[in-house]
């Protein structure tokens, strides 16, 4: 089974996106960003944008996907699709890709997408570029050019896989531009049933838990207040949480703080933690060793608070505040209060 042989490449058409959902079944914003990127590519190629939507019930999502740029929605509904199951979703997508033969397939570079899409590429024998930050069509060859950071963001590499179909990429959340919802936009919804074979050799999902605490979700946060070794303990992080809550942001940490046991691992930013892409990153007492910088250098505005103004973080920062974080942060909170700024936690 190989659809991607040279001889039938020409028969592959259209740009697909794999929709991403939130635990409550609503569409994740990255789905709209993928559609925005897909529309630009489709216009260039003169083809359609299709969105695959896999879930328990996608009746609400399907028209939303159309209003945001999909020409067709492939809707697959099954109770087992409520929670992420790599094998099950891969089996379904592999079958649908072989049936409808897209030229390009885009997924989200989320924990789900980064597990599912490489499995799919592995099965289909086609190229996949992870975590793309730029996508375009080569004017001469019509091939998809995929740009991504490599070596911790020190190099931007442009990659193509034009000899194989579909050309696949995962795209980081918050990088591409979504289109405004257009309620009068029309499109077609194609319902596809799950087959018995799709459900073979799939894992069992025993339990799925969404954290009640809203300040852990670093990947979607627009603002992150992050603390390092200088925060000195869990009490120090409470101060950072207070600032984060005023700003409507999440709390991040350096590895030094996580390894000291002051805050849980899902908060860790950096090479062995998470890569974040916030609009505003406030580093409090984080010196900025390379493993940390790698994880946050793509944030739009970087603020550093440190006693020592010669640290790499203070040098990289757009705003560098010299001083003791335990004195400055309470004053910042007071100042925000004076200006009536209180977003009260990270609303998702």
């Amino acid at each position: 089974m190989k659809l991607l042989n040279e001889h039938d490449r020409e028969s592959c058409r259209n740009v697909w996106i794999i929709s991403e959902f939130l635990p409550d079944g609503e569409l994740h914003a990255v789905s709209f960003e993928l559609l925005g990127a897909a529309r630009t590519l489709a216009e260039e190629l003169g083809c359609e944008v299709w969105a695959a939507a896999l879930g328990r019930d996608v009746s609400k999502a399907a028209p939303q996907l159309i209003s945001r740029g999909a020409d067709k929605v492939i809707a697959v509904e099954d109770g087992r699709l409520e929670y992420f199951n790599d094998e099950f979703e891969c089996n379904i997508l592999e079958r649908l890709v072989c049936k409808y033969r897209p030229e390009i397939l885009l997924g989200a570079a989320t924990s789900r997408g980064r597990a599912l899409i490489p499995r799919l590429a592995g099965k289909l024998y086609c190229g996949l570029t992870a975590d793309c930050t730029g996508l375009s069509i080569d004017k001469e060859t019509g091939v998809l050019l995929q740009t991504r950071p490599a070596f911790g963001g020190n190099i931007m590499a442009t990659i193509q896989s034009g000899g194989f179909r579909p050309q696949m990429a995962t795209v980081r959340p918050k990088v591409m531009k979504a289109l405004e919802a257009d309620p009068i936009r029309t499109g077609e919804i194609i319902y596809e049933a799950v087959t018995e074979k799709d459900g073979e050799k799939i894992k069992e999902i025993i339990k799925a838990v969404t954290e009640a605490q809203s300040n852990v979700n670093l990947s979607d946060a627009n603002i992150i207040v992050s603390g390092g070794r200088a925060v000195k303990g869990p009490e120090g992080f409470r101060l950072l949480e207070e600032l984060a809550s005023r700003l409507g942001g999440a709390v991040g940490a350096s590895r030094a703080a996580v390894d000291s046991g002051w805050i849980a691992y899902p908060h860790q930013v950096g090479q062995t933690g998470q890569t974040v892409q916030a609009d505003l990153y406030i580093a409090c007492g984080i010196s900025g060793q390379i493993q940390h910088l790698i994880g946050m250098q793509s944030c739009k505005t970087i603020v550093a608070i440190d006693k020592d103004d010669s640290t790499p973080m203070m040098q990289m920062a757009d705003i560098a505040i010299k001083g003791d974080l335990f004195e400055i942060i309470p004053k910042i909170i007071e100042e925000l209060d004076k200006n009536g700024i209180n977003k009260g936690g990270n609303k998702q």
Binding site: P118, G152, K201, K203, E204, V209, I223, M316
Partner: protein
């Protein structure tokens, strides 16, 4: 229990230096180390073996010098190691790499569990683990944070995601990719490190694993690098704020408002 653990040698991160013009990291080539996430995979594999008995085999693809990474794995308690090394493997992308590793795992035979790090820190793709699982057509779980139960027929694990976690049960053979927090890798004892240095590490070539020559190496890799460029500069000017805490906080918050960041 027979466990294979995949190990990659990567350049160490080096010291952080910032280019004052572009506000970007100046990269210096560090020495070669075991991919940090793989250390957790090695440790977890050895811990499982210590509980259930069996064998752990470390597997790497790379140049001859990648034997150093396997030696480190051996010093941590891995029973034996295999290096896939040949010019024909050179330039393999994640697809071709996972194909070769999957072939080697088939050749090892009877493997119940395959452990990988969450991703390699040079490429950061996280694609090889899932690629191996795809080629072997076995169950996979990425971002494994805890192994809850090693059963006779299944393994139960906790995976983390952006919003929380889930618990899933996979039938053997299964592939897991692990995150940093799963354990604290041991520091090898001197005696074990010495023994590891003496251990023989066989080198397998494409023909040893029955790899299709049209599926390995640069020319068979679906992805090709077209060009590389330095990343765009981050704004050059740093606004420096000091003075008393009150003043600093006042200037800072006005700046946040002016820049429409709050």
């Amino acid at each position: 229990m027979k466990i294979a653990v995949c190990v990659k040698q990567v350049p160490a991160a080096g010291d952080a230096k910032i280019n004052p013009e572009t506000k970007r990291i100046i990269r210096e080539g560090g020495k070669a180390v075991v991919n940090p996430f793989d250390l957790y995979a090695i440790e977890e594999a050895v811990r499982i073996k210590e509980r259930t008995g069996g064998e752990v085999i470390a597997l790497s693809m790379g140049p001859e010098k990648a034997k150093a990474a396997l030696t480190e794995a051996l010093s941590m308690g891995v029973d034996r190691a295999v290096l896939l090394s040949d010019r024909a493997f050179g330039g393999s992308d994640t697809w071709a790499t996972s194909y070769a590793l999957a072939k080697a795992i088939e050749k090892i035979g009877g493997v119940d569990l395959i452990l990988c790090g969450k991703q390699a820190v040079d490429g950061d793709t996280a694609q090889v683990g899932a690629g191996i699982a795809a080629k072997l057509d076995i169950m996979q779980a990425a971002n494994v944070w805890r192994i809850e139960e090693i059963g006779a027929d299944t393994v139960t694990v906790k995976r983390i995601n952006e919003r929380g976690w889930d618990v899933v049960r996979l039938a053997y053979p299964a592939l897991l990719t692990v995150v940093k927090d799963i354990n604290i890798p041991r520091i090898p004892k001197l005696r074990d490190a010495r023994a590891a240095r003496r251990a023989e590490i066989p080198v397998w070539k494409p023909e040893d694993i029955g790899a299709d020559p049209d599926k390995i190496g640069l020319k068979s890799s679906p992805t090709q690098v077209v060009k590389t460029a330095p990343p765009a500069a981050r704004g050059a000017e740093t606004l420096k704020i000091d003075g008393s805490s009150e003043e600093a906080a006042n200037v800072f918050v006005s700046e946040l408002i002016r820049r429409k960041l709050v």
